[in-house]
């Protein structure tokens, strides 16, 4: 039990910070209120400090239970780092008018009207939930953690701006999110019914017994449970057709919150999908490296539809936020393809899970930048910049922001040699390594989609980096960029370039993180996979009992 506590140390650190921030944010003293962001940052640094060294420490990782035990240190470190990148975008999102009025002496501080405490603490709550999702080894834990990730975001969306649009977005997001939660909870219940356990490891054993036992296949209830859970989780990752809310919600929320929405619930959804898929296993009777047919084809259709619809719809938008919203849908589609490929045996290049985890890292880093550029420039009337015309000619007044937009957009588009390219390359190699015709087809779909994505990312690049400014528009914008958000943009753009130097080690970490539990390995699904992967090697295939 104490081992488990050490494993969730980052979560505990974040939770403690959350409590501190929640109280501090209500303080009548301005200095104390201003400490909120700093203390949140400190909490994230501590969480990262508790999580990241464990990436290097395999011993700690192996103490973890669950099916992907080593995923915890990697993902928690990543979450803390992305959280730190998001934090400068959060600052100044809420309570600005009130603080200005107080500073001008026109109003007095009212704790009831202030939102700062909730805003930061819910941000940290959501990240805590995401970390707990990673730690989940049980369906109930998984459900609770997913809800802890999502619930705070509903409120954050609602309070992020003062316009009614945000309220509409929040309500919409809440209802759809609740619907999704109900659906995957139902799926979890069916899964429990089919296997008699809520522990993922136990489910893995029971399903393996079903697949390779006398029944000769998974029970229909288990399959129904898996598919239904998957569809429910599709809401979290905004897979088509569960994507309808995304554009409105992303547009309604403040850019900082939108950047968070594009990463946090999505990462939670992917971790949950990976855990569920891991519980089923990628070994299969007909195809040794494929999920069971029902899941495989559900995912195939989801992946292809998600990336295609996301990209095509993104290409039609003139609002940058909506464009990025749809593009985030497309990125979900790419990652689903990696989940389908499943773990490999030989290294990063054929491990779909490692590819997804690495892509989450790349996406987390580069995605912040695009939103941060948008958030950094503001309109004089206090509304958020959103139209593509607002960032036209950015290079004149804010050359560094334009350069950040250039780097982040091109990285999101996957142009070599930026970070996003290596992320996408991992997905490509993993998908191709499965060696089946339908996965080759998916690789081609992925390729064509990258090209569609190029179309709208280039529009962003052109607008910010090349075009001449629209004079009328420019007059409506604040001449000075928000400093903290500029920093976020620069960090993100810098990361896209600097992390190239350590792409190899990062891939190594993600590969380690994707390691399947050694206790469960050999439970039946992995049988014969080695033989399939390297058909022409002279070594005989390991028998199921051998390991």
């Amino acid at each position: 039990m104490t081992e488990k506590l050490t494993l969730i140390a980052p979560e505990i650190a974040l939770f403690v910070t959350t409590c501190v921030v929640m109280v501090l944010g209500l303080s009548p003293s301005l200095a104390a209120r201003k400490m909120c962001a700093w203390i949140s940052g400190l909490g994230l640094v501590i969480a990262a400090g508790l999580a990241v060294p464990a990436v290097l420490d395999v011993q700690t990782a192996s103490a973890a239970t669950g099916i992907f035990p080593s995923m915890q240190p990697y993902m928690k470190g990543l979450i803390a780092v992305v959280g730190l990148m998001l934090l400068p975008m959060m600052s100044g999102t809420v309570d600005r008018e009130m603080e200005t009025m107080i500073a001008a002496g026109r109003a007095k501080y009212e704790a009831l009207r202030a939102n700062r405490a909730e805003f930061y603490s819910f941000f940290l709550f959501s990240l805590t939930g995401l970390m707990l999702t990673v730690s989940a080894d049980d369906l109930i834990w998984l459900f609770l953690a997913l809800e802890l990730t999502s619930l705070p975001t509903y409120i954050m969306v609602t309070i992020s701006t003062r316009s009614t649009r945000s309220q509409e977005a929040g309500v919409k997001y809440f209802f759809i999110g609740a619907l999704g939660a109900a659906v995957f909870l139902y799926g979890f219940a069916l899964l429990y019914g089919a296997t008699g356990s809520t522990s993922l490891a136990e489910i893995h054993r029971v399903l393996a017994a079903q697949e390779f036992g006398p029944e000769g296949g998974l029970s229909p209830i288990a399959i129904a449970g898996l598919v239904i859970s998957l569809l429910g989780l599709g809401v979290k990752i905004a897979a088509v057709p569960m994507h309808f809310y995304v554009a409105d919600v992303y547009q309604g929320a403040a850019a900082g919150v939108t950047a968070m929405l594009a990463f946090v619930p999505k990462a939670a959804g992917f971790v949950a999908i990976i855990l569920l898929a891991g519980a089923v296993g990628w070994g299969h009777e007909a195809e040794p490296r494929q999920l069971p047919d029902a899941l495989h084809w559900t995912l195939w259709i989801l992946a292809a539809a998600t990336m295609t619809a996301g990209n095509v719809l993104a290409a039609l938008q003139s609002s940058v936020k909506r464009m990025l919203a749809y593009s985030s849908i497309a990125h979900s589609g790419y990652m689903l393809a990696g989940v389908m490929a499943g773990p490999g045996e030989r290294g990063f290049f054929d491990d779909g899970i490692a590819a997804v985890l690495f892509y989450l890292l790349c996406y987390g880093v580069m995605n912040v930048g695009a939103f941060a550029v948008l958030a950094a420039i503001e309109r004089r009337d206090g509304r958020e910049t959103d139209e593509i015309d607002d960032i036209r000619g950015l290079h004149r007044r804010h050359p560094h922001l334009a350069a950040a937009m250039l780097l982040c957009s091109l990285s999101l588009l996957g142009l070599p040699p930026l970070l996003g390219f290596f992320g996408k390359l991992g997905l490509f190699t993993a998908v191709i390594s499965t060696g089946t015709a339908d996965m080759y087809a998916l690789a081609v779909v992925l390729g064509i989609n990258s090209a569609i994505a190029a179309f709208y990312y280039l529009r962003l690049v052109m607008a910010a980096y090349i075009d001449a400014p629209d004079e009328a528009r420019e007059a409506e914008l604040e001449p000075v960029a928000r400093p903290t958000r500029t920093i976020a943009a620069m960090v993100s753009a810098g990361g896209v370039v600097v992390l190239l130097a350590v792409v190899g080690p990062l891939m190594g970490f993600s590969l380690e993180a994707a390691g399947f539990s050694s206790e469960l390995d050999g439970a039946g699904f992995e049988a014969g996979r080695g033989a399939q992967l390297e058909p022409e090697t002279p070594t005989p295939a390991p028998s199921p009992e051998a390991d």
Binding site: R396, P399, L415, F428, T429, I432, Y440, M462, L511
Partner: protein, 599 residues
């Protein structure tokens, strides 16, 4: 990297900057004496990046000096590189100056470079066109100069990377990265329809090359599953060996995937539509680089990947590709004939010319391949020069419309001389360089007929044959028609000038001084003269180039041939491709397929 509207910089910092640029130039020349040859190649890739980085922090008005220093240093380094390479060429057409460092072992990615004669010559061509582009933009680019020259320099590095790559990812990254600089150059510095041109250019090539990447990665996984390799590697040499063991159906798919990427770049007939637009809208330097080097990335990739990786599939599909090339040659030629925009005319002529290049590659014999590689170089020289000339004319008249221009020989005799000269080189007038390569590709196509090897003394191994050469030759006639028609209109005949330019001078648009009536300034004459001299040299005495190309091309042809001959017993329909045997003659379907095609 961006700046407001350029005002002439105060003289003092500008002078300083020119000094710094000059010092940096001489410092880079120190690399000529570097003891290890590969450092020169690495330096050639590094110098543009370093100079571009410095340039950003210097006054914009001197950006062109920085660009000129970097590209001239590279030109000198490339000459030294070439001299070193040919002083001790690698045995058996292999690679020398090999450099390899593991970068990301997790995906088998190593920064691995190596040169054979083909890549050395193409690198030299790239290095030569570098200063040509800078000089060609000397007066044309007045705003956002750092942006322009910075991306122009980065483009150089990427092109060297493509030609020197011995690792799949080094190749792919460089290949893809060429898109971005050109996208920026066209988008910001092009003419009226530049937006559409830039996006279309980017999307076409990006889509194609991603599909090519899928094909190439498939080969890498196939190689990893081979016992003799056993690890996941992206080394091009190892992959080429392993790729041949793929079953015929997989080879065909891989080849189609690769062609999806490379044929767009060339461009081959049905996917050529981005090219006329991009060439026409691009600024002069962009057109010169596009025509001079970037199109060759496609043909080079066919030479480097399609032929060695999938020789059987290439052999099988060669007739179809040849038909597409011939359609491209003739169709683009006919389109040229009716063009009024002289730049568009030259752009379409590139589609037509590159068709010969692809035809020579798929002839799969030594003479065809040699002709193709020579074509890449010669086309770069002559078409690059034509775009340069059109750019110089445009700076003076601000139009490229053939209906508004005519009889310029009386106003611009020097310009007209060069125009006639390079058009002749492009048409393939014997004595100039275009003739040699065009003749060799046609010759290669003519002889490339496995079915006739025994009965006809001149025939060599190959999938094509005389009918293809015959069809392609009509393209030569069309080329003569449209290019000479263009000359007749623009150089000779009654003088026609657009209104407002009756004195033949450009209107001064804010520059330091107006241009002279003719192309007599140094920055115009130097590149033109250099290119003309090379055209003449390679036309009169191409032998050194042909000799230099012999070893790698012979090795390539021999290995293609052995792959196809070895594969015959394994493939059920292998008899069809039998090169020597009792049934050849009327029964060899390589011939029957061909006749079916051309009828």
């Amino acid at each position: 990297m961006s700046e407001a509207v350029q005002h002439p910089a105060p003289p003092k910092p500008a002078a300083q900057s020119a000094w710094v640029a000059a010092v940096a130039f001489f410092a880079s020349l120190g690399l000529l004496a570097a003891p290890i040859e590969i450092t020169r190649l690495l330096a050639m890739m590094g110098i543009p990046i370093v100079f571009a980085a410095f340039m950003i922090f210097r006054p914009a008005s001197n950006a062109r000096w920085w660009a000129l220093s970097a590209t001239s240093a590279n030109l000198l380094l490339s000459l030294k590189l070439m001299a070193d390479f040919f002083a001790s060429p690698p045995a058996g057409g292999g690679f020398s100056m090999i450099f390899a460092r593991e970068i990301v072992p997790e995906i088998g990615f190593s920064f691995s470079l190596g040169l054979d004669a083909v890549s050395v010559l193409l690198i030299a061509l790239t290095a030569l066109l570098g200063p040509v582009c800078v000089l060609g933009s000397w007066n044309a680019i007045r705003r956002r100069q750092r942006l322009f020259y910075g991306w122009l320099l980065l483009l150089q590095t990427a092109m060297y990377g493509v030609f020197a790559a011995r690792d799949l990812l080094v190749f792919y990254i460089s290949f893809e990265f060429t898109l971005l600089p050109l996208f920026v150059l066209i988008n910001e510095f092009g003419s009226s329809d530049r937006r559409r041109a830039a996006v279309k250019f980017f999307l076409y090539t990006f889509t194609g090359s991603i599909i090519a990447l899928v094909g190439l990665l498939f080969v890498a996984f196939h190689a990893a599953s081979r016992p003799e390799i056993g690890v996941f590697t992206l080394d091009i040499g190892l992959l080429a060996e392993a790729a041949r063991t793929m079953p015929a159906s997989a080879q065909a798919l891989v080849m189609l995937a690769m062609l999806a990427g490379f044929a767009v770049k060339v461009p081959l007939f049905p996917v050529h539509t981005w090219l006329p637009l991009a060439h026409t809208e691009a600024p002069t330097a962009g057109s010169v680089i596009l025509a001079g080097v970037l199109l060759k990335l496609g043909t080079y990739a066919i030479y480097r990947f399609v032929l060695p990786f999938t020789p059987e599939a290439a052999f099988d599909y060669a007739p179809y590709i040849a038909v597409l090339s011939i359609i491209g040659i003739v169709y683009a030629g006919l389109v040229c004939w009716v063009q009024n925009d002289v730049k568009k005319l030259v752009a379409y002529s590139s589609v037509s010319h590159l068709g010969f290049c692809v035809l020579g590659l798929f002839a799969m014999n030594s003479i065809g391949l040699t002709g193709s590689v020579l074509y890449m170089i010669n086309h770069g020289l002559s078409t690059g020069a034509l775009f340069l000339l059109i750019g110089f004319m445009y700076e003076r008249y601000h139009t490229r419309d053939l209906r508004q221009l005519g009889g310029l020989a009386s106003k611009m005799p020097v310009w007209s001389f060069f125009m006639v000269f390079f058009v002749m080189a492009s048409v393939g007038l014997p004595g100039l360089n275009g003739f040699v390569s065009e003749f060799m590709t046609m010759m290669g196509t003519f002889q490339s007929d496995s079915a006739l090897v025994d009965s006809q003394p001149g025939a060599t191994f190959g999938p094509l044959g005389p009918w293809y050469a015959f069809a392609a030759a009509t393209g030569v006639i069309v080329a003569a028609i449209y290019l000479l028609t263009m000359l007749a209109k623009i150089v000779w005949g009654p003088l026609r000038e657009p209104p407002g330019h009756a004195d033949g001078h450009a209107e001064d648009d804010g520059a330091a001084g107006a241009l002279p009536r003719d192309v007599t300034t140094a920055h115009e004459l130097i590149p033109l003269t250099a290119l003309a001299a090379l055209c003449l040299l390679f036309g009169l005495y191409p032998k050194p180039l042909i000799v230099a190309l012999e070893p790698p091309i012979n090795a390539q042809v021999a290995s293609i041939r052995s792959a196809i001959e070895l594969s015959v017993p394994n493939v059920p329909d292998g008899v069809e491709r039998q090169v020597v045997g009792p049934v050849n003659g009327e029964a060899a379907p390589a011939a029957s397929g061909r006749v079916g095609e051309s009828e």
